[in-house]
């Protein structure tokens, strides 16, 4: 009887955060989405796939606690349990750092699959932070994905690279090659959205970007000083002091897990002249 119960246990979903272009906010997004999922009570792990250029650990603020990494686990030098870094702020959150000293060839398809299968048993969500580009590291990050968050800036090279990545998600992933499997569910997350520059016609609008890419929109993250501050401090932006970017990530995560949340463009409140003069915050 207890055997029947076990069969029903749902397995974790693998979500890749990817973009093609570098510097658009993949790691910031991975950290924020992972932290917000964990805060909502979902067991979540964030994996750094950028072998040789480890950075997720810094953005998550656990860089001083890295002992073993993803590659050590793949190569059998450490058990998964030993390489996972449990977050000190949220008990449902863990980080699997990557290696700083190896190269991308250390990521094997079989190795990645084994680690993901093991993580699927313990975690509800497995967030794969992809490196920039479309080479091996990026391909491994997306290969076993159930869903994809394609991080895009409203800027020509970023949109073009996102389109390329969307093509790869539909052609080279496990879901793409298995007949009868649902395709990877891809959604666009627009980051560094600057309302004033859009209003003045300097920057493409959200509608422009969506028209070109033709995939659903997961959220709009405004350009916000809170992102740099959070990275300086090693705190995912949703766990730092309230900000427009933090709120936008909270909304995006709500939509990611199926909530109906109206698309809104949050803005950081600018202090007025008097407030600035007298240093008041109210």
């Amino acid at each position: 009887m207890s055997k029947d119960l076990k069969l029903e246990e749902p397995l974790g979903r693998v979500i890749v955060v990817t973009s093609g272009k570098g510097g658009v906010g993949k790691t910031t997004t991975s950290a924020a989405v992972g932290a917000e999922l964990a805060r909502r009570g979902h067991k979540t792990v964030v994996i750094d796939f950028d072998v040789g250029l480890r950075n997720l650990d810094m953005i998550m603020g656990c860089e001083r606690r890295v002992v073993f990494d993803f590659i050590n686990v793949i190569q059998g030098d450490a058990k998964l349990k030993q390489a996972l870094i449990r977050d000190r702020r949220l008990e449902n959150l863990a980080v699997l750092p990557t290696s700083q000293t190896r190269d991308k060839d250390a990521l094997t398809k079989d190795g990645v699959e084994k680690v993901l299968d093991e993580l699927r048993k313990e975690f509800d969500y497995i967030i794969c932070d992809s490196p920039a580009g479309i080479e091996r590291g990026a391909q491994m990050a997306m290969h076993f994905a159930d869903e994809a968050i394609v991080v895009t800036n409203p800027e020509v090279s970023s949109v073009r690279d996102s389109d390329r990545v969307l093509g790869l998600l539909n052609s080279i992933t496990e879901r793409a090659s298995k007949s009868g499997a649902e395709p990877v569910k891809a959604q666009v997350l627009i980051t560094r959205h600057d309302k004033s520059r859009i209003d003045s016609g300097e920057m493409m609008t959200v509608e422009d970007v969506l028209e070109v890419l033709a995939v659903p929109l997961l959220g709009i993250i405004p350009e916000s000083p809170a992102v740099l501050r959070a990275s300086n401090l090693g705190v995912p932006v949703v766990l730092d002091e309230p900000s427009a970017a933090g709120t936008a990530y909270e909304d995006a995560v709500g939509r990611l897990i199926g909530e109906q949340i109206e698309m809104r463009i949050a803005a950081d409140r600018r202090p007025g002249l008097l407030q600035r003069l007298f240093g008041r915050t109210v």
């Binding site: 810094m58 860089e63 001083r64 606690r65 890295v66 002992v67 073993f68 050590n72 030098d77 450490a78 058990k79 349990k81 030993q82 700083q100 000293t101 740099l228 501050r229 990275s231 300086n232 401090l233 090693g234």
Partner: protein, 87 residues
């Protein structure tokens, strides 16, 4: 003086610099502490020594590290089965 400014430096930027200085000091040379690459070997060696005296599994060892600017600490936990009923 170079870098002099009327405005106080924002707190988060100085935190960023400190974090980087500590991390990079460890990453650059591996001086003054264990190189990260030596840890898998260290783990195997420790297990080997322990196994001369008691039976422990591969998963019984847990190594945690905390890097600091002055010194780093390595915390090693080894779990082994309790000896049932000594009497």
């Amino acid at each position: 003086m170079f870098g002099f400014s009327l405005r106080p430096r924002k707190a988060s930027a100085s935190t960023a610099k400190e974090r980087l200085q500590i991390l990079l000091a460890h990453e650059r040379s591996g001086s003054g502490g264990a190189r990260p690459d030596c840890l898998p070997q260290l783990q195997r060696d420790i297990l080997e020594v322990i196994r001369r005296h008691m039976q422990v599994g591969d998963e019984a060892i847990d190594i945690r590290m905390e890097r600091g600017d002055e010194l780093s600490s390595l915390e090693i936990n080894i779990e082994f089965p309790a000896t049932p009923g000594v009497n």
